[in-house]
Symmetry: D2
Subunit: 343 residues, 4 copies
């Protein structure tokens, strides 16, 4: 089958022919891929800045944001049948460790993370995953376009869910970066909380995109009037929460500039560095949260919002074999929403 693989740092991903995966364990599930989202993490991996350390060596198939149809199942799998449309939680989990028993899938003691930790991912015609990673999609929903919910969506959902207790009427959430995750994040804050959303992005078309999704105002950190204009618009105190879907370049500095005293800085994107004097942590009484994907329940609930029409993915489709171009388009900021590869 065809697969798009990480073969060497600082090289584009390679379209190759590899063997189709097969059931090896009673709990295995083979999925025929409908769509595989393209994530900035793929760029980080290609650039030699893999999030998991030590970095898994190439080659392996990229892709950790997948939908498809059940192709084959192991003898212990009874929750899905061949042909079912499914979305995949990004991680394989054991189901018996304390984290799994508590529903904290990403903390599973024996987790695997296809497309990220060296196990082959979903930039391919077929993917091997496991019984606890599959979640049935409603029959009438074309799976390909939902792929971004599997990672961009679940991660945004997880981050938004964790800040909900902070959000009251009049609260301001600054969403930093209106890309694959951010465009879902804007919708989630609006539909799950009484908060107001202020969007931040360098590209005017993304701020317009955010406005269409429910953001009340838009700001460009490169604007010379920034952050004064942001602070004034917020009533003087800044944002109650900054959701940072960028996490690199100067986004931590930007976030801290616009965060009110007692506020929460929630980090989702990565690649940069957070540096803050402890005295500022104290006197401003800041809270900083890291966020790592989300659990299975997050995905279940996100799909429910999609089913109700309260959240929609903006997906731009590319043939699987054009993955190198999709990656390049993402790198150059040419995608509004999320790129999805179609085998």
């Amino acid at each position: 089958m065809k697969a798009v693989r990480f073969v060497r740092e600082h090289s584009p991903p390679a379209v190759q022919v590899v063997e189709k995966p097969t059931v090896q364990d009673p709990l295995d599930v083979i999925v025929r891929i409908a769509g595989a989202g393209v994530c900035r993490t793929d760029i980080h991996i290609l650039d030699g800045a893999a999030p998991l350390q030590p970095a898994p060596p190439p080659p392996f198939t990229l892709g950790h944001e997948d939908t498809g149809w059940i192709d084959a199942v192991g003898t212990g799998v009874s929750n899905v049948s061949v042909g079912d449309p499914v979305i995949l939680h990004p991680a394989l989990t054991c189901g018996v460790c304390p984290a799994c028993r508590n529903g904290e899938d990403m903390y599973c003691a024996r987790t695997r993370f296809p497309g990220v930790d060296g196990m082959d991912g979903g930039y391919a015609e077929y993917l091997r995953t496991s019984v606890r990673a599959v979640l049935p999609l409603a029959k009438g929903v074309p799976p390909a376009a939902q792929a971004p919910l599997a990672d961009a969506g679940i991660t945004a959902f997880h981050a938004v869910r964790r800040i909900l207790p902070e959000l009251r009427p009049g609260s301001i959430v600054a969403v930093l970066g209106i890309g694959g995750l951010g465009h879902i994040g804007v919708q989630l804050v609006r539909t799950m909380s009484p908060a107001r959303v202020f969007a931040l992005d360098l590209a005017p078309e993304r701020l317009e995109f955010a406005a269409r999704l429910g953001a009340e105002k838009g700001f460009t950190p490169a604007d010379p009037g920034f952050p004064a204009n942001f602070l004034k618009s917020s009533g003087g105190n800044g944002a109650d929460v900054v959701l940072d879907f960028v996490g690199e370049q100067n986004s931590p500095e930007v976030a801290l500039q616009i965060l009110r005293r007692g506020g929460t800085y929630s980090i989702v994107g990565y690649g940069g560095n957070l540096s803050v004097p402890t005295v500022a942590m104290i006197t401003r009484e800041i809270r900083i949260l890291g966020n790592f994907v989300g659990n299975y329940r997050d995905l279940v609930e996100l799909l429910e919002l999609q089913r109700q029409g309260r959240v929609a993915v903006s997906a731009k489709e590319y043939p699987l074999t054009e993955a190198p171009r999709a990656v390049e388009d993402l790198r150059r900021g040419r995608i509004l929403g999320r790129a999805v590869l179609i085998p």
Copy 2:
């Protein structure tokens, strides 16, 4: 009256004679000081590293951790009478801004902070404060020795209270720095939660002190076996929470070394810098909290624990005029618990 004042950066505090404060507003309260605790913030101010910026210029009387007896009250004060023993919340608050109405005293829009923001503090025979800052002490309790509850205690309480939702049976709280705040923090974690306490300090006598207060184990970050010994003792994963009462030198690095994935790093001390790559925030899914003193309710509840005998202050008394020696002893780590100045 005598007062000990900040007169110049990088000089010891000066014992001077100043005018006794008087009631100037209907809600003013004049307190005859029984005891005034010596805090590392006083050292920071003397060293030109004041926590509030812009730094208030000298001269002013130091001291923000006070007990005493009511000496005089304005016409609008009815909750205390002359002669009553009281402990003082460190901040003066307005009572009508949104923060005050919500019980968040430290976020008062018109707050004053005697001994810190340039208003004269409690290293003196008398202090001027306000109706909302006074809290009656039980009659039989000698006020002087309780002074450290007013800032060291309330701040430790506030920080511990905020992490309580994280603490379950088997949770490990690493308490970093067993000084004025830390020795109260150890007791609070033990009496308010089911968690285990692991103490960290450079001084062996402080680790023994922590053990007497309920810490299960003690560690010295300077030990060559550290942090491996800590991680092993914790069962491999590290601490669920690190309560950092130091916040300077390398304490943020130490804290992050021993923090488990998904854990909380709660910062109380200051003077250093926190630096962490955003990718570590994400993959380790860390939570970082700053803490700034505490609210009036925190002080009420802390006093209740003291009344029940569940928390006790270890205080070392100095005559007010020996404040320079007390400050120097604190600087050199010669105090077990908290130094208190007695006018």
Copy 3:
């Protein structure tokens, strides 16, 4: 001035001429009434079933849901000026007791409740209240129509806010009674949470009203297919939360019939009786909450939602002197939304 008063149990309220209230205390505020909402509590009082016991004896002026303009203030009042449009929190509070310091206005140790506890209320041209009960309205908002926010609105807000932690995507909130409180409650659940709303009422026009406000489905408990149709529509398990704005007749039985295992029954209306075997409390693991008005912060946040256009009151205006007719219309279920008396 004119006032509408409770003069005798089981008699209609009487339109009388009484003395205009005057400032008696430095913190007093006299408000010229713009609008006064008519509440089922007024009916309970008139019927000899006052909520506060022992029942305050007549005569006194009814009305506990008021907006207006500042007419006069005591010497200690600086947060509002004569002529300012205001909405009134229903309770007068002391500001210094522990409850007030924590923002729990309804638990104030020295609270007064005009129109309910025997102190004269807002069915009048003028009302005497206190500094902590006034909340400025935006200048351009006609005060009369906002009156229902002061009690119907704040109470619905308080009840909805308390259940927010239970509400996740896919959660179902059953709103029982689409009247003065319920029609605001439907909007609040929709705009503050990701939950779905199912409305219940005996009157078809109220279910249509609820549908226009965001309810997904409507049910009539008198329908022979009820509760089976409700349970089926919910997917078999019932509602996650029942918000009961009725609280009398058989509403507790209806609520418990449609509540899922582990669900929350939140009671706002009153007049009836709750009876449930303890074994059902255990095996169904039900949570039951009583709700009593709301605090000042609730009112601040509710007004913010009104300002953003996320919540709107449906008010039907009556001249003050026609209060008896308004009360009778409420009793007979002829009001969609809330009746408001205009002096």
Copy 4:
């Protein structure tokens, strides 16, 4: 093997010889029983007042609170080995339904409850259970005496854990009924929270028992001075939380008499009826919680407290064949702590 069975309503349990259970499913686990606790639920079943409805018909083996050693395991069981000492979560759970994935074991869609729902329980030499119900005990701990943790303990833990967010310094928890659950509940409140414990029981020796376990005061509801003496001792307002381990006779009335405004009535015992006017729910703003056993994580955490010596079970041992006498002793209130049957 020998087993003690429910054979007929209103008859004592019968000691019989039955077949030893065997592995029937790959996830089955056969446990050789070390100890089986005697619970009031057994009495309810014998009396024809089974908690689960429709009541499972006799005959079946009683016992839902068990420890023992692994005797045999199915082919899919890898978390325990033959000979391991274990404590058993009372319920068998599927591991894949939404409740199981969220760690809410008692809400499993396919749960079984040996000894209660008609499946044979632990009043026997051997018990058949399932992979997800077993929790290893530390090697040095004699399993028999720990049996009460499996149901009395986990249920008390679950109820106490759910009220922890309400408990602050100075809070008063009234523990109603110092029996098998209550004697563990007293210890849990003391070691997991800063609250004070007031014990209530009809038997003076149980109040003394509670005092030894950390209760500050004891009250007898039958005392003519009750509830006035309770209210006075609490400072006038009553208990913040009532934990009712009785739930029958007049315990709901007693609980509501001593509960403060805004307080929580948490019900664990059953057999009686709760009746309260909705107006009292509103004006007192009461919260009422039902509690049903606890989840696996609760059991893990409770064992951790037992391991640390912060909670201890008081167990009175009986030979298995004397189960009828043990049941009778429980019925007559002759047991301090919990009766445990030893095969």
